[in-house]
Amino acid sequence: MNKSIHQSLFFLFLLLLQVIVLNNINFLGYINPYLYIVFVFLYPLKENKFPLLFYSFILGLSIDFFSDSGGIHAFSTLFIAYIRLFFIKVYFRKTPLDYPFFKLKDESFGKVFNFTITLTIIHHLIYFSFANFSFQNLSIVFLNTLFSCIFTLILFFLGTYIFTKKE
């Protein structure tokens, strides 16, 4: 029970953080971090995949509502939520038996880095391709993806560094 409250608070926190603060950064005019995808990274592994797919869709759609982008955030967030399990198997070599004990902060930095950078690049690439919505200006899409990825990952690793308790 405690965990689900924690999850929904985390959901709300990420949504408000993205909408109120991060969407308005516009570093150098157009670079914004999309930190809300951290929800997909940190959502606990479960045998049942429906909740993660559904919640990430809702999170993306809520951000779409605030930033007038149709369903682009929902599409890209849902996509990385679906392929997340595949990359967990590839990078961390987990079997379904390990799922309840899996925690991202217990894994080594290199593996976590590979995992997050893959998902972030996929998410941002889909997002910016749809936001551009044409085959012109492809260089802008790639540049935006690169810069926003760097920004998002810096914020993610700073955040995990600050908020994890030291033993």
Binding site: G29, N32, L53, G60, S67, D68, S69, A74, F79, Y82
Partner: protein
């Protein structure tokens, strides 16, 4: 039958995933269409009120500069008023222009959400159906044009910014020559827009002013837009101009919504001639 159930059992996650992706795509494609984007937009009650309270907060910081802008505009309007008083009426018949020949009404509104860094940009303003705002009305401020209203809810309206790849606005050169073209945006820089379809023979100079032409039913005539900053004359009959906007689109607060009272009359007339 069992085969089908087995199929659903096996691929339930993938099917659920596909279903949600299709919903997201549906919203995305609808959002790109000017007249259909009624599902996902920031002009609803929840997002509208959150954006409104946020803008209330940030407004406080900008009070000083906005006051200066307002007083500048007041001076300009006062000067125009004085000019009108000086000219004695030549005709003996005086028409009360405020009552019978009025073509536009202006409504003041505040921008509560502003995008300018994407390819399809929208603004949200804090007036809606309750203030008699409908779709396809012009949004301007004292410096120039800003966009066209699109979706309205009870208290909020979404505005398609001129910084939107779908935006097409009739514009012309200010001065003696009245060559007109279409104003579009190529999504590169939020300070410049492009003026297309200006005939080759039009005399052009860098620094010339571009304003709205009175050929659409949305924008009034002669609203300033910007200055020509670059002229691309290729091997075509038309030239494409880069126009530096007067407005800083990243720093907007108060706007006017212009309602054309003769819009239905003009449109009905034009539809007859088309048939």
């Amino acid at each position: 039958m069992q085969q089908i159930i087995y199929f659903f059992q096996k691929f339930k996650y993938f099917l659920f995933f596909l279903l949600l992706e299709f919903i997201a795509l549906f919203f995305t494609f609808n959002n790109l269409n000017f007249h259909k984007s009624k599902y996902v937009n920031s002009a609803n009650r929840i997002t509208g009120s959150l954006n409104a309270s946020l803008s209330n907060f940030s407004e406080y910081i900008e009070l000083k500069s906005k006051n200066e802008l307002l007083s500048e505009e007041n001076t300009k309007l006062r000067n125009q008023l004085e000019k009108n008083r000086l000219v004695p009426s030549k005709d003996s018949t005086i028409t009360d222009s405020t009552k019978y020949r009025q073509k536009y009404t202006f409504t003041q509104a505040k921008i509560i959400n502003n995008n300018y860094s994407k390819q399809f940009n929208f603004l949200t303003i804090n007036k809606g159906k309750s203030a008699d705002i409908g779709s396809e009305m012009a949004v301007i401020n004292s410096l120039g044009i800003i966009g066209i209203t699109e979706n309205t809810s009870e208290n909020y309206t979404r505005v398609q910014s001129i910084l939107n790849k779908n935006s097409k606005i009739n514009a012309r050169l200010k001065g003696n020559s009245r060559y007109f073209g279409t104003l579009k945006w190529n999504s590169n820089d939020y300070n410049t827009v492009q003026l297309h379809d200006i005939p080759r023979q039009a005399p052009l100079k860098i620094g010339d002013t571009v304003e709205t032409g009175g050929k659409s039913t949305i924008f009034p005539e002669g609203i300033p837009i910007g200055r020509i900053s670059k002229i691309n004359q290729g091997n075509t009959t038309n030239s494409e101009l880069e126009v530096q906007l007067f407005n800083d689109m990243s720093n907007l607060r108060y706007v006017y919504i212009v309602k054309n009272l003769h819009k239905i009359e003009i449109q009905s007339l034009e539809n007859i001639s088309n048939e």
